[in-house]
């Protein structure tokens, strides 16, 4: 009876799982089909709205150009992300170790976070070489969630464990390395997951700003340039590659999160019960 109930539930769960994959794909196919039909029946010219089939053709035909641009954008994103991770965690640790530093610098971290990046980018391009400016933009957008989450994590240590470390006379370094950082790990990884998507946004915004200043070769710049040329199919193609890159970054970081926490943290264990 019990086993039967369990079997029934698991088959329902499997159906649920299949639906979660099949439904979005079905929606996509329907929308693409309608889109294709509308373009063909209405005779809409490609510089206004290209058909999905044309966009796919463009991705293949412009493959070399697009992949070069993609790699430029991805490398910037990755560099910005790594800097944001190091900067965010580093600053949070520094703040945690010294109240004075925290009081002195935290307001400015907030200022960087709340000022729209689109507004900062042109100014950065005035003072910095283009690549550096793009990188700094990616960093500014991405580092704050890492900083905020890591700070939260470092302050969320089990009080009894803090007492235990005091009882055994642990040094500052030992408390940080053996207690605070591992406690904060789930928070840090959560911050990194947000930072991954944001560093892509930062890179794109900066590229667009830089592109309008007359230089650049990333995907975002390609979109701007194709816009000037009314090459709308290429704009769509580049846009699709950007979304795919964002999705891949998100799931890659989710995977890292899962692998790092699966043996001990509630968030990663919940599904196994």
């Amino acid at each position: 009876m019990n086993a039967l109930a369990r079997g029934r539930r698991s088959s329902r769960e499997r159906r649920e799982q299949a639906l979660r994959i099949a439904l979005p794909i079905a929606v996509l196919l329907i929308v693409l089909a309608l889109w294709e039909l509308a373009v063909r029946i209405g005779g809409i010219p490609p510089y206004i709205l290209p058909a999905p089939s044309l966009i796919i053709q463009t991705i293949i035909a412009d493959g070399k150009l697009l992949s070069q641009s993609l790699s430029v954008t991805l490398i910037t994103t990755l560099e910005g992300f790594l800097l944001a991770a190091a900067g965010g965690v580093g600053l949070a640790v520094l703040f945690n170790q010294s109240r004075l530093v925290e009081y002195s610098l935290y307001p400015y971290a907030v200022v960087l976070q709340v000022t729209p990046i689109v507004a900062i980018a042109p100014l950065l391009l005035v003072y910095l070489p283009q690549h550096a400016a793009v990188l700094v933009c990616a960093w500014i957008v991405a580092f704050f969630p890492v900083l905020a989450n890591t700070t939260l994590g470092l302050n969320s240590v089990d009080r009894n464990l803090v007492d235990l470390f005091a009882l055994y006379g642990a040094s500052r370094g030992q408390r940080l390395w053996y207690l605070k950082l591992p406690s904060a790990l789930p928070y840090i990884l959560g911050g990194l997951r947000i930072a991954g998507g944001l560093s892509l946004i930062g890179a794109v915004v900066a590229e667009i700003a830089a592109g309008s200043a007359g230089a650049g070769s990333g995907l975002a710049y390609l979109i701007v340039e194709s816009g000037y040329r009314l090459n709308v199919p290429r704009m769509f193609a580049a846009l699709i590659l950007l979304s795919v890159a964002g999705i891949v970054i998100f799931y890659a970081l989710s995977l890292v999160n899962h692998l790092a926490l699966r043996r001990w943290h509630e968030s990663a264990l919940a599904a196994e019960r």
């Binding site: 089990d158 009894n160 464990l161 007492d163 235990l164 470390f165 005091a166 009882l167 055994y168 006379g169 642990a170 030992q174 053996y178 207690l179 591992p182 406690s183 790990l185 043996r263 001990w264 943290h265 264990l269």
Partner: protein, 266 residues
Amino acid sequence: MPPIADAFPAAPLVALRDVGKDFANGTRALAGLDLEVRKGEFLALLGPSGCGKSTALRIIAGLSEPTEGTVEWPAPTTPILGESRIGFVFQEPTLMPWASVLENVMLPLKIKGTAMNEAADRTATVLDRVGLRGFAQAFPRELSGGMRMRVSIARALVTEPQLLLMDEPFAALDEITRFALNDDLLRMWQALRTTIVFVTHSVFESVYLSSRIAVMAPRPGRIFTELAIDAPYPRDSSFRLSPEYGAFCRSASVALGQATAAGGAW
């Protein structure tokens, strides 16, 4: 009833003299608390919840400073914070969830900088002692509540402390697990010849385990009376069923009732 046990007449290992403790919010947690912990004894601190038992324990551990009065360690070497002469078991197992049982138990030795080989040996020995051989690589999450508490006890014992402080360690466990851990704790106490101060609000647990009970009264926390439980060790489940045990429980219960009443109404 004699106020003091004869079984452990030795000089005190640690003594609280006229200790008072005020919290920052103005609560007077302890006032005029006098307590001697004698070498080798199993002392239970029994009292209603909120009577400052845990606060007293934290003061002995050095985790909290008394507002007035002193903590004396008459023995030649004064166990100060960081000397690892004190083991502490919290009400919760308080394990690091990201670390294996082995790493959790080895933590105090790692903090002290004990050589890896020696630390590994001592950890294996103490895991054996608490009955967790074969669970070294498990994570706390994968263990039952009772087993987690065993890990916590193993961690407290791995430094071979002179004094083991336990703050209601079994309060959250079911009765079967609690009885098993009571027996194991008594066995370890006798084998290691250490001194234990055990905070509890259970009359039955305090009588079963301890050689002496200090009954505390609340608001402010102080020692109300002391009872010697001079039944011989080793004790086992037959002690739980003996008329002697019943009589001890009755007098401890009466003392606890009087102490609670002495604290006044809530």
